[in-house]
């Protein structure tokens, strides 16, 4: 084997080992790398009340209500299987609306209602001008995100 060959295999071999190690580490840390849990995962995990975490899903259509003074928003977050009720006091991001993805940080109350301290709106991967969005909706071809 020429020295060049040897160095080539050394580099390729080291990268393969490193890649394998990285895969193992990331798999092991999977639970810490996910940014939020879905309502289904929350139901499976039995997260104790008062523990802070993030929950993500879609704002259920027709579920958003505001308190009389407009400061407290209540809504439901769904992943189409399970639903969690959320209460939040404060300003909402621009993209927050029914049917949109949302991520709430906070904790579960004893009654199972999620008390959000922070709300982040999740944007999806679709980009289009508003006339196109309108045309698709009028044609009945609009697909809500799952």
């Amino acid at each position: 084997m020429t020295p060049k060959r040897k160095r080539l295999w050394l580099v390729v071999g080291s990268l393969a080992v490193l890649g394998f190690a990285a895969t193992l580490v990331l798999t092991a840390l999977n639970d810490n790398i996910v940014f939020f849990y879905s309502p289904t995962q929350i139901a499976e995990k039995n997260i104790p009340p008062e523990r802070r975490f993030r929950m993500g899903g879609l704002v259920e259509a027709g579920s958003v209500t505001k308190s009389a003074d407009g400061q407290v928003t209540s809504f439901k977050v769904t992943d189409t299987h399970k639903t969690v009720a959320v209460v939040y006091r404060g300003l909402l991001p621009d993209l927050f609306r029914e049917g949109q993805g949302v991520i709430a940080e906070g904790s579960l109350g004893a009654d199972g209602v999620f008390l959000a301290r922070e709300i982040l709106a999740k944007h999806d991967e679709n980009y289009m001008p508003s006339e196109v969005a309108k045309a698709i909706k009028e044609a009945g071809q609009w697909k809500e995100r799952k």
Binding site: P93, D124, P129
Partner: protein, 239 residues
């Protein structure tokens, strides 16, 4: 590879870049003028984001180039360590700050987009964190290559770092698929075709092509400078 071998010789590279740079500069400037018109005036606002969508025309190409730039560093690192190409180390020194610059632009524009759209300048999700890691890998490469009195040792240490860091590239790309993140999944390079309307996709790809030319131009110019610098240092040592 055989075709690129002729560029491994610094003198030939110099002749090549001096032939290419003038027309490349003109092409980049013209494309940028058209690109700015397409991105800022001609393309429509997004149905949800409004005019904020225009940040994407800089953000997304910068992200691509930051990643492509790091892949280039890794390729140069491999050709330095394995084949001892004389030009690879110089080009890596030239390319690292350019890639770091695009990476910084990507992080900053993303942050400015995130505040109105998500409601946060920054979150520690897998995509944002792995992109920040890429920026630190760039800074590490720049620092390491300049950390030794003998430039050759710095070049080799930085080449090893570039090869190790290349593991981060697939993590960045697939972070949005492997873990749930706040960052949206891929819109352009994805199965089933782009999910961006042509009126927004065309300016995006145009800007990507423009910034790619800018990247190539900057790397060529800076590599020329690095060749000069190395020659100067060698001459000073001999004097």
């Amino acid at each position: 590879m055989a075709d690129l071998h002729f560029l491994a010789n610094p003198a030939r590279f110099r002749r090549f870049s001096q032939r290419v740079v003038p027309s490349l500069s003109v092409a980049t400037a013209l494309m940028l003028a058209v690109g700015l018109y397409l991105a800022l005036l001609q393309s429509p606002p997004d149905y949800q984001q409004g005019d904020t969508v225009r940040i994407m025309f800089v953000h997304v190409p910068s992200a691509w180039l930051a990643m492509a730039g790091y892949a280039l560093l890794a390729g140069l690192g491999a050709s330095l360590l394995i084949w001892r190409h004389p030009l690879a180390a110089l080009m890596a020194r030239a390319a690292a700050p350019v890639g770091a610059g695009f990476c910084a632009v990507c992080l900053l524009t993303g942050s400015l987009w995130g505040r109105p759209m998500w409601g946060a300048y920054w979150v520690w999700d897998a995509r944002l964190t792995s992109m920040l890691l890429l920026f630190f890998l760039y800074l590490g490469h720049i620092a390491l290559s300049r950390a030794y009195d003998e430039p050759d040792r710095g070049d080799r240490a930085a080449a090893i770092l570039a090869l190790i860091g290349v593991i981060n590239l697939p993590i960045i790309k697939f972070s949005v698929d492997w873990w749930n993140t706040l960052h949206q999944p891929a819109s352009v390079a994805r199965l089933g075709g782009p999910s961006i309307h042509p009126s927004i996709l065309v300016p995006l790809l145009w800007m990507a092509a423009t910034l790619f030319l800018l990247f190539v131009l900057l790397v060529l110019l800076r590599t020329d400078t690095e060749i000069d610098r190395r020659r100067l240092e060698n001459a000073e040592q001999q004097a």
